[in-house]
Symmetry: T
Subunit: 147 residues, 12 copies
Amino acid sequence: MYKTGWIVNGPNLNMLGFRSKEHYGSETYSQLMDSLINYGKSLNLELQAFQSNHEGEIIDKLHTLVKEKCDFIILNMGALSHYSIAIYDALEMVKVPMIEVHLSNIYAREEFRKTSLFTKLCLGQITGFKERSYYLAIDYLAQLEEK
Amino acid sequence: MYKTGWIVNGPNLNMLGFRSKEHYGSETYSQLMDSLINYGKSLNLELQAFQSNHEGEIIDKLHTLVKEKCDFIILNMGALSHYSIAIYDALEMVKVPMIEVHLSNIYAREEFRKTSLFTKLCLGQITGFKERSYYLAIDYLAQLEEK
Amino acid sequence: MYKTGWIVNGPNLNMLGFRSKEHYGSETYSQLMDSLINYGKSLNLELQAFQSNHEGEIIDKLHTLVKEKCDFIILNMGALSHYSIAIYDALEMVKVPMIEVHLSNIYAREEFRKTSLFTKLCLGQITGFKERSYYLAIDYLAQLEEK
Amino acid sequence: MYKTGWIVNGPNLNMLGFRSKEHYGSETYSQLMDSLINYGKSLNLELQAFQSNHEGEIIDKLHTLVKEKCDFIILNMGALSHYSIAIYDALEMVKVPMIEVHLSNIYAREEFRKTSLFTKLCLGQITGFKERSYYLAIDYLAQLEEK
Amino acid sequence: MYKTGWIVNGPNLNMLGFRSKEHYGSETYSQLMDSLINYGKSLNLELQAFQSNHEGEIIDKLHTLVKEKCDFIILNMGALSHYSIAIYDALEMVKVPMIEVHLSNIYAREEFRKTSLFTKLCLGQITGFKERSYYLAIDYLAQLEEK
Amino acid sequence: MYKTGWIVNGPNLNMLGFRSKEHYGSETYSQLMDSLINYGKSLNLELQAFQSNHEGEIIDKLHTLVKEKCDFIILNMGALSHYSIAIYDALEMVKVPMIEVHLSNIYAREEFRKTSLFTKLCLGQITGFKERSYYLAIDYLAQLEEK
Amino acid sequence: MYKTGWIVNGPNLNMLGFRSKEHYGSETYSQLMDSLINYGKSLNLELQAFQSNHEGEIIDKLHTLVKEKCDFIILNMGALSHYSIAIYDALEMVKVPMIEVHLSNIYAREEFRKTSLFTKLCLGQITGFKERSYYLAIDYLAQLEEK
Amino acid sequence: MYKTGWIVNGPNLNMLGFRSKEHYGSETYSQLMDSLINYGKSLNLELQAFQSNHEGEIIDKLHTLVKEKCDFIILNMGALSHYSIAIYDALEMVKVPMIEVHLSNIYAREEFRKTSLFTKLCLGQITGFKERSYYLAIDYLAQLEEK
Amino acid sequence: MYKTGWIVNGPNLNMLGFRSKEHYGSETYSQLMDSLINYGKSLNLELQAFQSNHEGEIIDKLHTLVKEKCDFIILNMGALSHYSIAIYDALEMVKVPMIEVHLSNIYAREEFRKTSLFTKLCLGQITGFKERSYYLAIDYLAQLEEK
Amino acid sequence: MYKTGWIVNGPNLNMLGFRSKEHYGSETYSQLMDSLINYGKSLNLELQAFQSNHEGEIIDKLHTLVKEKCDFIILNMGALSHYSIAIYDALEMVKVPMIEVHLSNIYAREEFRKTSLFTKLCLGQITGFKERSYYLAIDYLAQLEEK
Amino acid sequence: MYKTGWIVNGPNLNMLGFRSKEHYGSETYSQLMDSLINYGKSLNLELQAFQSNHEGEIIDKLHTLVKEKCDFIILNMGALSHYSIAIYDALEMVKVPMIEVHLSNIYAREEFRKTSLFTKLCLGQITGFKERSYYLAIDYLAQLEEK
Amino acid sequence: MYKTGWIVNGPNLNMLGFRSKEHYGSETYSQLMDSLINYGKSLNLELQAFQSNHEGEIIDKLHTLVKEKCDFIILNMGALSHYSIAIYDALEMVKVPMIEVHLSNIYAREEFRKTSLFTKLCLGQITGFKERSYYLAIDYLAQLEEK
């Protein structure tokens, strides 16, 4: 049976393809999301993608996910990972497993990227593998037993 | 004669009822606001409530209150209390008395909740009494003499 | 049936009326306490007041309250709030609900007033409303259901 | 031939005229923008102005500027200058010259205003000359040779 | 021949039995002191006990001990260990060997308990063994050769 | 054609099965390594495993890998991740791709576990998925094109 | 006409003569105070001396001085200078000129002696001249014009 | 009527042309000053230039300007901006408007260049536009109304 | 019946007798261990001693103790107490009571000796009594009831 | 017999009379020095005054005083007190008694004025009494016995 | 007569030739040591070289040198210089002159390389001259008079 | 053929012989410089020496060296090493090899001597060998191949 999940993406991720290829890879955002959704299907996961540059819209979306339920969430909050306590509060309400991914190796860049507020609310973090960070998260979720 | 005021609520407060009861009590947001408005009426205060998960919408709202005037504001900016300098700037323009309330005891939780940027712009702060924090603010405002 | 409680006041509060009116209001200490006790009576609370400039006497008093029990405590430890770990230890033994009040808005003054050691041991804090801080605490306690 | 550029303004700048005249001068936002656009014209610069109180809308706007290109950007991000890493990421994608301006002398105010995340992505900063900060930026851009 | 010594106890130690058994054991203060005095006797040490919740009284007592001399002091200053520079100054005048004891493991509790001002003025510290911390100090002193 | 790689494990990893299951999962070290090697084989990767509790032995091993070459390294340095600059220096000499894995979510534990010296020398980090952290690293390496 | 003043001494100053002569000189407390009072007389100043090892008694005394008035106060709060915010609050109520003196050069000793909370409430500080620190303060006060 | 002003330059500015062109542009010091003086003339400003590598000579010069008066000062104190409290004290005596300029973008270089002691004593700061930083300051001063 | 325990000693303790007598006493390592083992025997404790200068060997030893069990451990990890998180992890697996001892008063020496990572994993700490620190630990363990 | 001494003054003290009267009093530098020299004479002290705005000249002067000897030095290094390690090194060579004076209460002003590097090399410090700070230093030196 | 000494090298120095030539030069470890030993001979110094990647082996070696004595030690502890307090303790027992050398300029690299624990136990430090750092240390020792 | 170089000495070095022999050796400045110049000659180096107590003069001198060129510079900036960013800027313009020397072991003295701003601009640093620090720098330069 299908498990359902959301990929929730934060600011600037819609601009993949315009950002530094060294850090973010070369696919566009919609290419990447399509490709992830297909990959999910092949593993019996029904994925949906969301992206916003607005902290408030992300919070609104997370509230929906709290109410409507899904089986897991893959998070890439981009720069908001480093300071949005408001999203932290929204994530605290989520009861399904979450995985944090980052395209770039945030530990090899500016000082202010080295701390993510959200990791401790997630199962774990996959960081630095460009687009593959998402695929690995999906791999993990596909094999995860329901408790 | 009636005094008029606004209750301005920040992100995630619309989710009361879904959040940790230990910190936030068990009423829903609209139950609580209705009940506060009624309570205000009984004390000759005409209250209106506003909530948004968007920093920008809160700033827009505060700008309106700067222009249209009211007699006081009760603030619960939620997580934005800890980092939104943009809201700080908007509050600086407000010339009516403001009271900051928090449902949870922010001093008994994570380190990053222990500082509110906004308290020094307010008359004072009431924190930790769940829904009653708002009621106490209303009590205070009801007995406050106009200067 | 009456609930009984103590208002425990720390150093310099006996000098109300001699201190900066901007921060502390204009009633004398005994006027204020009398008035609070009367107000309590009107709400079926039997209040008693204690004040000392001596950390040790406050600790002694709190020990008495640990042994003799009362239903709640309202604390205004003044400057000791910021450094007296000895009082912290005494408060840890108290098992009844406590509320911390401050007359002045401690978050709008010197840096060293911004942290109270005791808040995390209390239900919550009411700060900045001059004499009304106490009244609001009483209001809260009057409506508090026994568990 | 005309060079084209945008003036991108952050939160609360729409309220010029309502804010402290000492820090922000006395023109309204639309007066100031009109006047800057006219001034630009006189120097063969075609300027357009944008303002938003929403971090997300500013990011959206910057994305448009990344795609549609213009010759330069004048930034006044207001309070977001001090904490919006999300806007920092959007600015990193911009390849045209940028100048940061501030109306008030941010180094003579609160501690939290003393650091701008964005300056290092810009040619330079002009700060403290009220409305004239913008004019000076325009002067600079008008004489800037294309490389 | 008998050696004479004092056990000087700081705030809240009179409340042993009322405090957290996990940290402080279950004997009352007077039971413990009696038992220590008897134990001392069995090892040819003549012990006396002092306790106060008042920093000033402890200083007064230490002054007496400076003047009247004894052969050693066992200190448990409780919370004052972490901030009373005034007691530090009094201890500096004491010329006999001192041992610092703590009932609880102060290194496994709140951050503010991890530093004792007084240890560097003592021979050493015995911490975490509940009542036994005192007995071990006595054991040590009983076998200590006079120099 | 087979690609060859090493899994280099630091102190205490030999004790898997004896450590907290919540953080580290329940397989023993040799079960896990056998299983990883088999998994690698199924993906055309020839894996070998090394473990030591001795910083010096790990450095010796890394020196061998610098000289003998392999195609990649998966690192789990355990607690040495947080302070061994000597291993950092050894890793700097390694020119093949490295991936850092952690069984536990190091960002949800003690403060001193939140910084790894080595991440910035690696492609990325996979942390918090217990045994699956290794499998995901292998998945990634299996699909990695040689440059 | 005589000007009247108090010398208010904090903890351990009663033990002058027992403390390190290098830092504190060799007179006893009562010798020093007598001698200061006589010296004051010779300059038309009527001095009185107070000393306590109890923070609370010092606060009580300062309250008396607030109420009964005198023309100036010479303060040597000893170790309490470094942490007693409660005394700071009491001193804030004093409206007559105050001078802070220290016998020892507090800037040439332990780190924790380098900051006095009280200096900013005083005209100035005289520190390091042993007994002469007091005499210099008296000299200054004797020539001070009344405003 | 002419307004008179000084351009006061600190250490190493005499070496323009020898320093990194990327940060400091390519004109020599005397070319730049001549050109600024001419530019000033064209705007009815009578400018004079001063440069010294000696903190003391700069202070002497500023004292002269305090006594002889001029209408404004343009400051580029170079590295002394970051640590010379002695110049800060001299600038505090200056009562005419001052503008701080920097050739390089000091916010995009070493950490120790990010703070200027002097900005808060000036109207504002213009930084990062190489030689043009001075011209913009002159533009500003030329249009500044006398108060 | 005999209880069995280990004394696990860290780097440089084998050099007792060569180190500063003021801090470490004058017995050699083997004299001290023999004497402790005999003392243990007299109290029905069967002690064994281990020492290594190698962090890795200590970890190996602790792993053995995790597997083979004993009734308690006395730890003196020497300098490794201050930085070896790898040993911390090994100690976390140990389920028997542990006591930390130090020969010297680590709180009266260099700043970097003032924090031990391990204390919070132990019952308590005995520090500063030279060889007697071990004897006191044995005394404590001898009287400790099995739970 | 006369004792000889120097008053060594640092930057900006030549401008007394031009600086803030609140902090620095109203006499000019030469009035003050003349008056101090006369006052010295009346107490059998032969004083000479030196002032420079140049750190280097002050160092040169101190070197002369090291070689030619005098009986004491009164120091007011102004702003250099807060950062000139070079002067610190020169003062270390001086073997006669030194007293540090400040006209203003440096502890009641900007944060960066609160630490003087030099106090620990002096007998003591007299600060905050405007011109009288010097007179008190002279008083002290006049009565100081030669050792 | 010959003086005898040891060169004690820490982790990764055996890999000279494999490490960054910019920081570490291009000779291999054994070439360098042979060459240093020959150079020593030519200056009447009998040198021996030791290297280990194991903190514990280095401590063991230093213990041997404490017991067997030699005339001096040249230290290059590599990365252990920055954190090994255990080696610090071993070095404290060494009574012969020690010189610390570093091949690379540790002050021009990562932040964590800027502090060496060991320098204060040595005569001095020679850093940044690649292989020549050792030769200079030998030159110094060759001319050092025995005391 | 001769190589030419300068030894540039900062404040207080002219006083060698008057300063602490323990830190600075016993030769006078001119003896030392003469002797270094002769030593240079014997190695085919033509050395010249410069010393000043004035930061500004040192900067002037360095500017000359930028313009007139020499083959290398040996720097001992004394206390200015710790804070003179102005000299840092002057040194940045120097393109010949520089070596930093210190007579005393700056890492074994006051905290504020532990950081030199200039080392990262030099080949390396030789510190702690009194006069020999200079000789070793000369030795190094004598054997340095021109690139």
